[in-house]
Symmetry: C2
Subunit: 286 residues, 2 copies
Amino acid sequence: MLIDPSKKILIVGLGLLGGSYAMALKKKGYSVSAIDIKESSINYALEHKLIDKGSVEVDKSLLDEADIIVFALYPHTFLKWIDDYAHLIKKGTILTDVTGVKGGVVSYVQDAIPEGVEFIAAHPMAGREVSSVENSDDSIFKGANFIVVPTEKNTFSAIELCKSLGHELGFKDVSQLPVERHDEMIAFLSQLTHCIAVSLMCANDDPNLEKYTGDSFRDLTRIANINDEMWSELFISNREVLLTQMDKYKSAFDKLYKCIVKGDREEMRSMMRLSSERRRNFDKKL
Amino acid sequence: MLIDPSKKILIVGLGLLGGSYAMALKKKGYSVSAIDIKESSINYALEHKLIDKGSVEVDKSLLDEADIIVFALYPHTFLKWIDDYAHLIKKGTILTDVTGVKGGVVSYVQDAIPEGVEFIAAHPMAGREVSSVENSDDSIFKGANFIVVPTEKNTFSAIELCKSLGHELGFKDVSQLPVERHDEMIAFLSQLTHCIAVSLMCANDDPNLEKYTGDSFRDLTRIANINDEMWSELFISNREVLLTQMDKYKSAFDKLYKCIVKGDREEMRSMMRLSSERRRNFDKKL
């Protein structure tokens, strides 16, 4: 065990990610408890032995027992929880999260928590097209990236603990990025791709598309089946950064468009060669 | 065997698709020969028993023996071949192809071939990110779509023969579309997706992207490793139709962009719900 096995872990928010964290950590032998407002989620997790203890209320005794608290909530719910309950968290507790955008979250939480409590942000780059604890599946972490997002307020030991958490959960690569760089990276790699998939799926109302499709369209639209509540919040909370990345992509698309208009095959092929070269580098490091 | 086993099949052009056709048809027990200008390709196919006979020249005896000729060439090479050699094809032969765009091809070929020879166009919606006969793999046809593209010049029996060919190759769905509808469908489902993948891969020159990526970016760029010679030709030969589909997609992308600028979460979520609903229909019919 990479983390001291006497450390107790509390998960706040038992959705797909919270449940999958619980599943992975329990399998490794850690003591895991959870808080979620939905009774059925707590009951499911107890019945399926994803957690040792659970509560539908912000139970002071669970907070007092916890050495590490993982917040697996939507961003605005996370911030609201911090506003309402952070004062109840005991000194020495390490907090972490799963939030997909860090800009509005990390400094807010670090400023709001009591003296002696430390928040080290993390972004597990894993998910599924379904939500809720009943779909928990720790295999989504295999081969995936886990990004730790520290600030100057973080201690070396908390950063290392958070990295150990990523490894214990089963992530393949655990890396580290500053807040701004994380949000820029995520805007390009994750949010922009979801924008593209949704736009592509909305662009054509022909009801027979699937009869004639190849794999490329299926691949590009896998993520078009999207959790609209979560993603619209993520888009809005990273608005400026996302728009910049959308602009970059639009420029490249418009360049290719102009090549086709002009019949400029050489320029088109040079874009395709750049694209192929870059994508091959991607493969190698997989 | 769905096709009369006494029928001999000649494949002109032994690349990835030609080789994979040969592999599938030989496994089913058909007699298969091939013509390709590359001696190494013919030798490879003979050694690996993908074909019974082969020639690097347009061998009149192979043409005379053939009942069905499959052209697995790039569009312009196919048309050039027809110009140069179509007069050598004997009466009663059925020709088919694998060309990804039909507009400039089907009527041209149907007009150029001798009386008594019939060309029935087909589009096997399968491929790989690699080319050449050495990468032949008939498993690429499994679960894939095969589209027969007849015109009013085609006979019922040739259309049925071509459909049987699709089934014998191992395609899951064999369907039929008129030329214009085929090209429109392909522009949206296949060409546009390749435009998007190439643009996305060209949009950002950060060398560390792959360290932070999730599956969505990998999925969207799988096809960004692209055969620039073939695809630039396909884009140019379907230019007007492709530009129309690119415009449709740009409108949807711009609509989403504006939602993000305005912070219009309701409109954003309604696009996401439409996208999810459509994508789920896709899954069901898989």
